[in-house]
């Protein structure tokens, strides 16, 4: 169990720290795979119809469909390396480290995990992932990176959801996944249009609207 959690936190840091888009997408894909395996284990690791069906669906969606959608999106883009980041990478990694320290030191604040079979590191890892996802969302200006940040955030939330996974009906879970896929699909279309209209995907150019003239 713990090695999966370590993997999730590490992939989060790769998404944050890497300066190229391709390794980031791959990291998100790996994270998705780890999550699906973890979900399978938490549900009792039974190879019955229900369990394997859910495992296959989450694996396919999180590790194949969503990354492929993002790869298709970045295909037509001019450049894939971050230029002029808002905050330098060193500072970002340092902040992420602080977030991790904060999350893991707040284990005692969260009274959830007293059940057997759930690692005590689950909630801190989820919290680290969620907060780092936020960090990616607000500090990276490129539209694709914001989508990746959003995905990391969602993955963090799903990690948290592992604590109550047994109470969730399968239909609801598949609905949540479908929403995610359609969301990434629409975001991809939107990025394509942003690139076509503005010739880049830096969201800092999207600042016309507002109340102050």
């Amino acid at each position: 169990m713990n090695w999966i959690l370590i993997g999730i936190v590490l992939t989060t840091f790769i998404v944050l720290g890497s300066s190229r888009i391709v390794p980031r997408i791959k990291a998100v894909a790996v994270q998705g795979a780890l999550l699906s395996v973890m979900q399978f284990i938490m549900r009792g690791a039974r190879f019955d119809l229900h369990g394997s069906f859910l495992l296959i669906i989450t694996l396919v969606i999180k590790t194949i469909i969503i990354p492929v959608l993002i790869f298709r999106t970045i295909k037509g883009l001019s450049t894939n390396v971050d230029k002029e980041p808002i905050i330098g990478n060193h500072l970002l990694s340092l902040t992420a480290g602080l977030i991790a320290v904060f999350s893991f030191s707040s284990i005692k604040v969260f009274p959830i995990i007293s059940e057997p079979g759930i690692s005590p590191f689950l909630v801190p890892s989820a919290l680290t992932t969620v907060l780092t996802g936020f960090l990616i969302l607000v500090t990276k200006a490129k539209a694709t990176n914001q989508v990746l940040g959003f995905l990391v955030l969602e993955n963090g939330i799903f990690t948290f959801g592992m604590t109550i996974i047994s109470e969730f009906p399968m239909m609801v879970e598949i609905g949540v996944l479908l929403d995610l896929v359609v969301g990434v699909f629409i975001m991809g279309i939107m990025i394509y249009h942003i690139n076509k209209t503005f010739d880049n995907i830096d969201t800092r150019t999207l600042s016309v609207l507002g109340d102050v003239e």
Binding site: I112, F150, G161, E167, L178, H193, L209
Partner: protein, 476 residues
């Protein structure tokens, strides 16, 4: 039930394939068919609710029914209006594209919203509210301009993140039910309310309030709302403001019900009061001296969502639900009329619009009725509901909150009526559109008549429906 959710979905998928521009008539027929079938479905739920539900996934309770009726009415009105609106736009304005996307997204949007209001399972509720975001983002991007692109991207990202936070809140609520045997349906959670872990439920409610509050336009998470409402085509602004915000509100109310049952009523009330007042404050600030009339209306939506949240926070449940109805009807009227103004003057700036009463008398009168209704002057329906909130608040002893409420309403009253009067008075202007056809006038007249009549005399069955919903919100 099937009519209301799956028919729009199915028709939407059909419309996706009707890409050809010649198929425009077929698309329009499908849109209207969807709307009318939805009406039929809603009416059948009124009579045969017991046999039509599949609890807890698809089940319309008293609370959901109010929202369902509103969605049905406003969607029908809006789809008739958009027939006329887009014909006129094609005639006088830029080339249009993406009609099939428009119609199918509107139908998808309808079915997502219907699902959101006709479920009592909080997981399904979350899925439905997230899908409303996805279905409406392409609608906001309809104009395909730089500005609408920015608005749509902001909307999509901010709301998705907001709703993701609501999912986290949902997980917390679910975690609080661990070991009690409660399922994630409303009735089961409320039944086991006393056994829920209060600490987790509290965190969960805060997260849900932030998450769905983002979608509902509660300040300070309202940033996307003025942009999206001002850049979307007018019928879409009307739908967003009058129905979509309500769905998010219903999401919050569902979790509020759980909190009430678990004995966290005071805590939830306090939170909702604070957020309501902040929204009122922010909207009062931005409405003053606003230069763009669609943004003005958007901020007014934030104001009214604030009023409703405040109203529920001070336990003025009947008045708040009545205000949901009055806000939806009035705001739909206003945004549709704003669409007419945009057609006539081709500008969104308040100072460039003048002489509306003389240029197009019907539009001018409708705009005055809507405008004065929304700022809360008698004899319209919003006045009644705002007044009832005030009465309940003072009876409940919330003197400070109510004085702030009155202060902000006063500021908004003055600045909005100034803007409205500036727009309707003055000399006649020459416009390219000339006289507007009936199809862009009649839908608003229906809404205007409704708010006037209900302001003078609230029919018995309307208040019965609201009262039966109010019973769900009383502390046990």
């Amino acid at each position: 039930m099937i009519l209301t959710i799956f028919v729009p979905l199915f028709l939407g998928i059909i419309t996706l394939f009707l890409r050809d521009n010649k198929r425009i008539g077929a698309r329009r027929t499908l849109l209207i068919t969807g709307a009318l079938l939805h009406n039929a479905g809603t009416i059948s739920i009124l009579f045969f609710n017991k046999w039509l539900s599949w609890a807890p996934y698809l089940q319309v309770d008293g609370l959901g029914f109010i929202f369902l009726i509103l969605i049905s009415i406003i969607f029908t009105v809006t789809s008739f209006y958009s027939l006329g609106y887009f014909t006129l736009k094609r005639k006088y304005a830029e080339k249009e594209s993406g009609g099939h996307i428009y119609v199918s997204c509107m139908l998808f949007f309808l079915s997502a919203m219907t699902l959101a209001v006709s479920t009592t399972h909080i997981g399904v509720l979350w899925i439905a509210i997230e899908s409303t975001t996805l279905a409406s983002a392409p609608l906001i991007y309809y104009h395909q301009s730089r500005r609408s692109l920015e608005a749509a991207w902001k909307y999509l990202l901010i709301c998705s993140v907001g709703i993701a936070i609501a999912l986290l809140g949902l997980f917390f609520v679910a975690a609080s039910a661990r070991g009690t045997g409660a399922e994630l349906s409303l009735s089961s959670l409320i039944g086991h309310a006393r056994e829920l872990d209060v600490r987790l439920l509290r965190i969960g409610f805060i997260l849900v309030l932030i998450g769905f509050g983002t979608k509902m336009g509660l300040a300070p998470f309202h940033n996307w709302l003025p942009d999206a409402h001002s850049e979307a085509p007018s019928p879409i602004s009307a739908l967003l403001s009058a129905t979509l915000l309500n769905c998010a509100l219903l999401g919050i109310i569902r979790f509020y019900q759980i909190c009430l049952a678990a004995g966290l009523g005071a805590f939830a009330n306090r939170l909702m009061m604070v957020f309501g007042l902040i929204s009122l404050f922010i909207s009062a600030v931005f409405i003053t001296n606003q230069k763009d009339y669609k943004r003005l209306l958007a901020y007014s939506s934030i104001e009214h969502m604030g009023i409703i949240t405040l109203g529920i926070g001070i336990s003025a449940n009947f008045a708040s639900l009545l205000h949901v109805v009055s806000h939806s009807l009035t705001k739909a009227l206003l945004f549709l009329t704003a669409g007419n103004i945009l057609l006539l003057y081709r500008t969104k700036s308040i100072s460039d619009v003048g002489g509306l009463l003389k240029t197009s008398p019907q539009t001018g009168i409708l705009f005055i009725i809507g405008g004065f209704a929304i700022i809360g002057s008698p004899p319209f329906l919003p006045f009644i509901s705002e007044f009832l909130i005030l009465r309940d608040g003072i009876n409940g002893g919330h003197i400070l909150a109510m004085s702030l409420y009155l202060l902000f309403l006063g500021i908004i009253f003055v600045s909005m009526s100034m803007a409205i009067l500036k727009m309707v008075q003055g000399k006649r202007r020459e416009t390219i559109a000339g006289d507007l056809p009936k199809i862009v006038i009649v839908p608003q007249v229906v809404l205007a008549v409704a708010i006037v009549i209900m302001g003078l005399y609230l029919p018995q069955y309307v208040s019965d429906i609201i009262r039966s919903a109010t019973r769900l919100l009383t502390t046990l």
